[in-house]
Subunit: 187 residues, 2 copies
């Protein structure tokens, strides 16, 4: 209910023009109760995305061990992207201009990005054993690069309007060159 109330109000009044108290009132609860479920206002924008992102650890763990690390990541991200069907497009991203959520999204996105990057880096560290400094740089660079490419693909997909199909092909096309490029460095 809180999420629905927030989506409605953000569409009516914009993100900055909507106060937390208004959302709580429309949802029929108290302001403090809202803070019990969403510690910050911007969390309301991320429920859908966060739910989809939660699939990453399992997707990584399910990857066959004989695959090169970069291709395992590629496959895992493909699986995560498959969770975002054409009927499940986060409204906070597609309606970003309508709601004026861009700055709020930018302010809250990087912490999520870094969480996923940390997951990837640990996954890579477990697969690519070498622990010297150069390997660490390669792992972190690849982790962040491939996630950034996936995020870019996400953005292009979200901006494609109603004609967009599934997310997975976008993400795969966006990250494939990165996986290819870093394969040698992480071999």
């Amino acid at each position: 209910m809180l999420e629905e109330a927030a989506a409605e109000l953000f569409l009516e009044q914009g993100y900055a023009g909507t106060t937390i108290e208004q959302i709580a009132r429309r949802a029929g609860v108290s302001r403090n109760t809202l803070f019990n479920y969403f510690t910050v206002k911007s969390d309301l924008l991320w429920v859908d995305v966060d739910a989809g992102l939660a699939a990453l650890p399992r997707a990584l763990a399910a990857c066959p061990g004989d695959l090169p690390a970069t291709d395992a990541v590629r496959q895992a991200l493909h699986e995560v992207a498959a969770g975002f069907g054409p009927g499940r497009v986060p409204w906070a991203l597609t309606q970003a201009e309508m709601m004026g959520t861009r700055s709020a999204l930018e302010a809250s996105a990087l912490s999520r990005f870094m969480d996923q990057a940390e997951l990837l880096a640990q996954f890579l560290a477990a697969r690519v054993g070498a622990q010297d400094a150069g390997e660490d740089l390669a792992r972190r660079s690849f982790a962040m690069a491939v996630l950034a490419a996936a995020a870019a693909a996400f953005g292009v997909w979200a901006a494609s309007g109603v004609s967009r199909g599934t997310l997975a092909p976008y993400v795969d096309a966006g990250i494939a060159p990165a996986c290819d490029g870093y394969r040698a460095a992480l071999g």
Copy 2:
């Protein structure tokens, strides 16, 4: 003076524990005057980095036109990285744990990242003429991937302690695989 006062207070009390009024008082000005020079508190953390990042447009424009677009970006980022010598390490990043600036940095970093990504994407669009949707995805993916890799290298470099040398080799090693990987897609 404002920057110095902020750096001192952040080290003494942490970022969250320091109010804007305290910074202004130590600098000998009013709270409103501080807001005249730094529109948000986190801008105080970014003066050094922003100054270094300002070199990117010029570095891109100065790249020889016969270079592949990916290598032009690589060269431009190398030049930007060269602006961060071992004597010019942004205190907000190296002392991040000491000051507790991590969440604040994460909240304010992405807008800067997207600004640079937009610069890169426009640069690529000018060099790689094709305007179909696939090309757009490739350009945006590469722009964000290479910047993310550079940011990762920046982080590894900043975390290397006093033994770190210059930033440029870190960045170059971090982004080289990305440039190689996307070269064909942006040929």
